[in-house]
Symmetry: C2
Subunit: 224 residues, 2 copies
DNA sequence: CTCGTTTTGTTCTCGCGTTCACAAACTCCT
DNA sequence: AGGAGTTTGTGAACGCGAGAACAAAACGAG
């Protein structure tokens, strides 16, 4: 076995992985528009990146294009989907059914991309009456049973910051190994568990920084 | 004028800018806990980064620490807030009051970080009856008036993908120069306008990729 | 079959960001 | 006052990712 690493086991740079879903989306748009073939230039424009970067990214997956012609939209779409793993069905639990949890539960983009929300959990018993997006809101104590029953490996945390670490600990203990965290707090998890953070106010603060600089430099130019 | 660039006009690397809000949040937690002083090691742990990186990041702002002692929590907090621009009040409009728009309008994290939602807009007249987070949902046609009245420079797009480019165009025409986009589409805007994108399903797809690889490598180790 | 055109896949170079390591600066204790 | 112990700020080395540029491959026309 001194040969190549087989199949999907190659090493794809993190920056490329983050862009593959963008390419996938662009390909779906092209496919829906009836396009059968596209060049790296077209696809790059649709995805908002440079064409050289696109080609390099795709080359990590393999040689799926044809020189002089371009890429077969359906074929490339399937290959990227397979590489990311969205050809299969990923069960997901959402914990914390406040405003954001509601929005996430109803978000159609999950379903259409291979993610299936199997349960909505909340610690507050007052919420257990509710039905959101066709699912009962259940007690947080049901977590372990649900994870086992549906073989869930991805959890979404949409609780307030104070509860987030506890939720994460329980998730990890129950067997979840990937966490998408919307709470504004840095989670600590054991090795082998992936956490991605989405922080709405941080994005706004980054915009504010640049906005402030625009104002400063504009004033400086006025003065000169 | 061969001297230094004055005051806040230094050049802060983009990667550092993205971390400053994280440090700011960590400092607020420390301040609330009554901590007066902290070392780079402590703050780095609270922010989830390496201490050398933290020190280098802070050094771009200036020399706000004391060797042998550490950083004054309140002082550093103010300096970072000033650098980002969140000591002032940023008016924000949100367009698209569906599930996500609701969640954003009610998100307390904006208000507490110097952002004030001044208007909620939606193209659907059926929604104009509603009151969300204490604000009337208004017609999208009111955009220009609101931007002018409140001097808004930041807009949030929480519409479906098909509407997003139109909304962005109208925002830019009305004078908005920073856009936070939640719609799953690549926006094209003129030079000088900043766009940041938050895509919920992309984050999940990145997790799925790594999850899939965990499964593959685990099986490979079992076999060996 | 050959030549010109198109477009991919890849090599190379450059710049940015991360990390290490250490000198400079400050505090505290004796 | 002086020395030991901390902790910051930064210079230098390193690695990764972006973009330019080009060679290899496919297609089509004559």
């Amino acid at each position: 076995m001194s040969a190549r690493t087989p199949d999907t086991a190659r090493d794809i740079p993190e920056a490329t992985v983050a862009r593959l879903p963008v390419y996938l989306r662009a390909l779906i748009v092209l496919a829906d528009a009836g396009t059968a073939t596209c060049s790296s230039e077209e696809l790059a424009a649709a995805a908002g990146v440079n064409s050289a970067k696109l080609r390099k990214d795709l080359s990590y997956l393999g040689s799926y294009g044809t020189r002089g012609v371009g890429y077969d939209v359906e074929y490339l779409r399937y290959q990227i989907a397979r590489e990311i793993g969205v050809t299969q069905d990923w069960p997901v639990v959402i914990v914390g059914i406040g405003n954001l949890g509601h929005a996430l539960a109803n978000y159609s983009g999950f379903r259409s991309r291979g993610f299936r929300v199997v349960a909505l959990l909340d610690a507050d018993p007052a919420r257990h009456e509710e039905v959101v997006a066709g699912l009962d809101v259940r007690s947080f104590d049901d977590l372990e049973g649900i994870v086992e029953e549906h073989d869930v490996s991805i959890g979404v945390i949409a609780t307030p910051a104070v509860a987030a670490q506890d939720v994460a600990d329980r998730m990890v203990a129950a067997g979840i190994t990937s966490v998408l965290n919307f709470a504004p707090i840095v989670l600590s998890v054991p090795e082998g568990v992936d956490v991605r953070k989405v922080d709405l106010s941080i994005e706004l603060q980054i915009l504010a920084y640049h906005e402030q600089r625009k104002a400063v430099t504009a004033r400086a130019e006025d003065a000169s």
